[in-house]
Amino acid sequence: MSLTESILAGNRLALARLLTQVENDRPEGRAALVELFPHTGRAHLIGVTGAPGTGKSSLVNQLALYYRRNQDKRIAIIAVDPSSPFTGGAVLGDRVRMRDLAGDAGIFIRSMASRGSVGGIAQATASIAQVFDAAGFEIIIIETVGTGQSEVDVARLAHTTIVVEAPGMGDDIQAIKAGILEIADILVINKADRPGVENTERALRSTLELAHPTKRITRHHGKDMEVSSPKLANEHKLMWIPPIQKTISTEGKGFEELVEAITRHVQYLHKSGDWLARDRARLETELEMALQEMLVQRFKETVQKEKYDEVLVQVMNRNISPYEAVDALLAGTPEQTMDQRSQEQ
């Protein structure tokens, strides 16, 4: 049985080993990805992101438990934690919060180190998700590293992005900044038994109103004042307004409502055409990256090392700029550029 066949047949050891090959970008991993690709495109990818300590791992734990108990779906979890920028090492600790999921053959948890990526997920996370998708996992939950404000790569990968907040983590100014809140399809206030939950909810709600302008009537100096929404180019389209869900992960509270919100979002994605649009955008990015990589590789095969070094020396001597160097390398004749320059002088 080939590796691909084993994966499709549900062999967990083969799956685990392939994930390593794919993560390390080995030729065997690439070959398997090619074979598995026709089997992808069925899973629902859910991204879970938020600041460190908001309770992402505990939330993922409860979310997976809920799905297993009520919908009997096979679930893969990709948990990303940061790599050290100095040693490349990592401590991947998300499993500590996911011990309730042990012993369930319908769940597969894989920890990943970010390995130098700064967007909140690792470079290979998308490929890892593809493998799980092909292996028949219906829901793939991707937990990002603890994010600050701009690690938004997960939104490009996931169909549904959940941004996790916790009470007392920031005021309304944090909430109007660009970045992480903008990518939320669903906002979750976790640890909702903590004080300050009303303030967090109010700040988030006001941000959402600004982000998704709708006609509103407000009382101003005793008169009704109508605030019309700005005209948007895609106004005819269905609009998704991110709901705010409150959860207490340590007690498993609020998950029925959260899963309902996720289900509604999936329905919206299909109805609005966004599911296909996101799929297209994701595959286009992948195609683009593969194309760039291949072109660079092919180009490097054609250009001689001596020529490359020669051009580099010219750049270092400030004889030519890096852009001129690229022109020269693509034309294959750096001398010509130099000749032209000396003639001009």
Partner: protein
């Protein structure tokens, strides 16, 4: 192509709740450039074997201070083998009486470390074992 990273599962089987040693080792291996999956306290042998499989680790490090090593270690080795992971190297840290060491080694435990063991030795042995 990315270089092969050494992946290590650091786990605490059994019922004692002292994980300082496990955390020190996890941190040391991290600083040595390895990817360490830390699973937390009170893991059953089944949980450890399952995590080792899903994470496709090269090495499992067990921290045992409860005295139950002669029961836990063989069970974990057996489960790893049953899962097809006989190539995974298993290390133990904790309170292990001298007289138990030969038998643990015989079972297939690669390295045993007591109080005062240096993290440099552990790092060196782990690197050596996965070569």
């Amino acid at each position: 192509m990315t270089e092969k990273k050494i992946r290590v599962l650091v786990a605490k089987p059994g019922l004692d709740g002292h994980d300082r040693g496990a955390k020190v080792v996890a941190r040391a291996l991290r600083d040595a450039g390895m990817e360490v999956i830390y699973t937390g306290l009170r893991q059953t042998p089944e949980m450890i074997a399952e995590a080792a499989l899903q994470e496709d680790v090269d090495v499992v490090g067990l921290s045992i201070l409860s005295g139950a090593h002669m029961a836990l270690a063989p069970r974990i080795l057996e489960l790893l083998k049953a899962n097809g992971q006989e190539s995974v190297r298993v290390f133990i840290g904790g309170i292990i009486p001298d007289e138990d060491m030969p038998r643990l080694k015989e079972m297939g435990i690669t390295g045993i470390y007591g109080p005062g063991a240096s993290t440099e030795d552990i790092i060196r042995d782990v690197r050596e074992a996965v070569k």
